[in-house]
């Protein structure tokens, strides 16, 4: 059961990431792409967690923490850039 | 302390730099004093290292007490001792010169200068490939920072090229390292060398690819023909004491080539190609460097091209690949490094007094100290052009003598013509700079005592090398001999070779391990490797340093 659930979940997440990539490529505007990238970061968290479950290991888990934190900060940086140009002022 | 002698050339400048950075910018005179004192101490250290290496023994220093090939070791042989000493001598002149005022044109000059020395010494002393990369990066980054010291259009423009090319170079370095590691499974140079000698033909070809790529990277640093274009503008635009110090930078590349050619790739089939590359590249560099010398319209550019000619000379000599040529090239290297440094410093002094014209080779106002500077220029010019009676001539003679029947055919004419080009260009430069001045009273600043002593310090090498030609060339002969006998190196540094174990992860487990928590292990291979390793470990971590140092230097014989 777990394996099947993992399969389903993994497939869905991977599909979600594919959509993100599509949006990233298509745009049409920078915020669209940024949104896609940010979502991709978040989906990557799920990917790592699912792979961790799959492999039955916690070794890579901190990567999820880092992605959550750092993805947010880099998205904020780009937003600030788009809003104000200068990100530290 | 003597057992830690090998690491002092790295730690001393580093600690000096840190102390300088912590002391802030409060007192310029303190910074200068500290920097000069530390560099002076390095000169003494260099002498001690020369003395130690002069005995013919090779000493090693196992960092973290992890023996080679597992840990990083510093290795002192004749060549590395010579390079460290040479760096110190050059740096001392530069730092003296810089202390006259160039150091305050930007921030943290002395600290970065010391870190540059740290990088250089580390690159010369390390016996580990990857550690060499790290020290390369330290010295490169320090050189970037020093190059930008004081800012200005020309520097920034030239610096951008220099930095980008070197970054690509660093990337290639890593690729080459990766391939070499993939083929040999080790990073220690001596270990890599002996493993390359035993590789199967298949893997040996792989290692060749890495080796050839690595040589391209080193050639970029050393600046030979298709890869030297960054050099003229970079050297010509650098602040004088920095440009002078940069005289050793190309030699780092050369040093690395010498090291890997004799220690790592000595048994590799790639060596033939490497030597051909060096030989032809070196010759072409002499040719185009000589042309550039003729074309130079500025004294700094002229000196930069002279550096190129010397690089070409050294490289072609390294491409000859025998003991005599290596000995000759080391002799020439010592001379050319110091004189190029002196010339950069002199150019600055001359430019300073010529007002707007600076070092451009056009008529300008009279110099303040025409006799003194002219005399110094004369000595430097004679030395660098390879005219008797100074060391350049001896170096050239040694090199020409070292060439064999067929090599001669290419080397001699080029070398002689390049010498002639240098002579023509330098005589023209000298006559414009010192003779063809406008009427009127000189108004430039008088050269500072520290500047003069810095330049003189380097300049003295030219006559000194002539006087000491015999002992020096004895040393370089012995150095070349030592280089071509890597067995000594390997034997003192490494435990007897144990065949490397297979990867513990067996092939089948690679694919199957995906799902199960406990991957399959080929137990037989595991026991094999643990046996092999445990015998290594027994020798790896030594109980105490006293033993380490003694065992490696082979005691007093």
């Amino acid at each position: 059961m777990l394996i099947i659930a993992l399969w389903i979940s993994l497939t869905l997440i991977v599909l979600a990431m594919a959509i993100n990539v599509y949006r990233l490529a298509k745009g049409p505007d920078i915020p669209d792409r940024l949104l896609a990238l940010d979502t991709m970061y978040v989906n990557a968290i799920a990917l790592i967690v699912i792979v961790g479950l799959w492999l039955n290991t916690k070794t890579y888990f901190e990567a999820a923490i880092l992605i959550a934190m750092l993805g947010f900060i880099s998205t904020m940086a780009i937003c600030r850039y788009l809003l104000r140009g200068d990100i530290i002022e | 302390m003597s057992q830690h002698l090998l690491i002092l050339p790295i730690l001393l400048p580093m600690l000096t730099a840190l102390a300088l950075l912590l002391s802030g910018q409060t007192s310029t005179s303190f910074q200068r004093l500290a920097s000069i004192a530390a560099t002076g101490a390095l000169v003494i250290l260099g002498a001690l290292l020369l003395y130690r290496a002069g005995s013919g023994d090779i000493s090693a220093y196992a960092l973290g007490n992890w023996q080679a090939p597992y840990g990083i070791v510093l290795v002192l042989d004749r060549l590395s001792a010579l390079m460290v000493a040479l760096t110190a001598v050059l740096a001392f002149g530069c730092v003296l010169f810089a202390s006259a005022g160039d150091d305050t044109r930007g921030s943290n000059f002395h600290a970065i200068f010391q870190l540059q020395l740290m990088g250089l010494n580390g690159a010369f002393l390390t016996g580990d490939m990857f550690n060499l990369f790290v020290f390369f990066e330290i010295l490169l980054l320090a050189s970037y920072a020093l190059l930008m010291h004081g800012g200005g259009k020309a520097r920034i423009g030239a610096g951008l090229h220099y930095v980008v090319l070197n970054l690509v170079g660093s990337a290639l370095f890593l690729v080459a390292l990766g391939v070499l590691y993939g083929a040999t499974g080790t990073l220690n140079m001596a270990d890599m060398g002996r493993r390359i000698a035993m590789l199967s033909a298949d893997k040996s070809a792989l290692a060749s690819a890495g080796a050839l790529l690595l040589i391209v990277v080193f050639s970029l640093k050393a600046a030979i023909l298709p890869l030297y274009f960054w050099l003229p503008s970079t050297y010509a635009s650098a602040p004088a004491p920095v440009a002078a110090l940069f005289a050793i930078m190309t030699k780092v590349g050369l040093y690395a080539i010498l090291r890997v050619n004799t220690l790592v790739f000595a048994e590799s089939p790639a060596l033939v190609f490497i030597e051909a590359w060096l030989w032809w590249g070196g010759l072409a560099t002499i040719l185009f460097g000589g042309i550039g010398v003729l074309a130079a319209r500025d004294m700094r550019t002229l000196v930069a091209y002279l550096v190129l000619v010397s690089v070409g000379t050294l490289m072609s000599a390294s491409g000859m690949g025998h003991v005599a040529s290596v000995s000759a090239l080391i002799f020439y290297l010592v001379h050319t490094t110091l004189i190029a440094g002196a010339l950069f410093l002199l150019a600055e002094l001359v430019g300073m007094q010529r007002g707007k014209a600076g070092t451009r080779l056009v008529r300008a106002r009279k110099l303040r100290q025409p006799t003194l500077l002219g005399g110094m220029f004369m000595i430097a010019a004679v030395a660098v052009a390879g005219i008797p009676p100074l060391a350049g001539a001896l170096g050239k003679l040694l090199l020409m003598q070292a060439a064999d029947e067929t090599q001669r055919l290419m080397l001699w004419p080029l070398l002689l013509l390049a010498g002639l080009a240098a002579l023509v260009a330098l005589s023209r430069a000298g006559s414009v700079l010192f003779w063809a001045s406008y009427k009127g009273e000189p108004s430039g600043p008088v050269a500072n005592r520290r500047q003069l002593s810095g330049a003189t310090w380097l300049l003295v090498s030219a006559p000194l090398l002539v006087l000491l030609a015999s002992p020096v060339s004895h040393y370089t002969d012995a150095t070349a001999e030592q280089l071509f006998n890597p067995q000594q190196f390997t034997e003192t540094l490494l435990p007897p070779l144990v065949p490397l174990a297979k990867e513990p992860l067996a092939k089948t487990s690679r694919t199957e391990a995906t799902r199960t928590k406990a991957p399959l292990i080929d137990t037989s291979s595991l026991t094999n490797y643990s046996k092999a390793v445990s015998s290594d470990i027994a020798t790896a971590k030594q109980p105490a340093l006293a033993h380490t140092a003694a065992s490696v230097t082979g005691d007093k014989r």
Partner: protein, 147 residues
């Protein structure tokens, strides 16, 4: 029904739900026609989806493998704090950049023009035409403010 089974069932459910929500969130990004609408999916769906997956992992390790593992909670908390901020900032950026929205959008934003968002928009270089994939939506021409 042993504990492991319940745990397994719970984990499986959470995983599937998580996957579904996450996928839905991203699908919204594909389906909707303007940026502001596309924003809704990821901020809500993806966040919740990932939350589910995280909880699933926590449950799995803690209950199923009996190795307490609570970091997932931390990440979930973190995501729930940051996701809306990301959404908000992205929307703000979208407004600032005068992104077009579909004509059927209701409401108006008159006073924002002067005060809060960028102004003096210059003519933009010609942008590619939006492919009008679905004929029935042809009426919903895209409009843009500030022109």
């Amino acid at each position: 029904m042993s504990l492991p089974f319940i745990a397994e069932a719970l984990v499986s459910l959470l995983l599937v739900l998580g996957g579904l929500f996450a996928f839905t969130g991203s699908l919204g990004m594909l389906q909707f026609e303007d940026f502001f609408m596309r924003l809704h999916g990821p901020t809500k769906g993806t966040t919740l989806g990932i939350g589910c997956v995280l909880i699933a992992s926590m449950v799995y390790f803690t209950l199923y493998q009996r190795e307490p593992h609570m970091q997932e909670l931390l990440i979930t908390l973190f995501l729930f704090i940051t996701a809306p901020v990301t959404g908000h900032m992205l929307a703000k950026t979208g407004l600032h950049m005068h992104l077009r929205f579909i004509t059927s959008t209701r409401g108006s934003l008159p006073e924002l023009l002067d005060e809060d968002v960028g102004q003096n928009r210059v003519a933009r270089p010609g942008r590619p035409k939006r492919p009008s994939g679905v004929k029935s939506r042809k009426r919903q021409l895209l409009k843009s403010r500030g022109r």
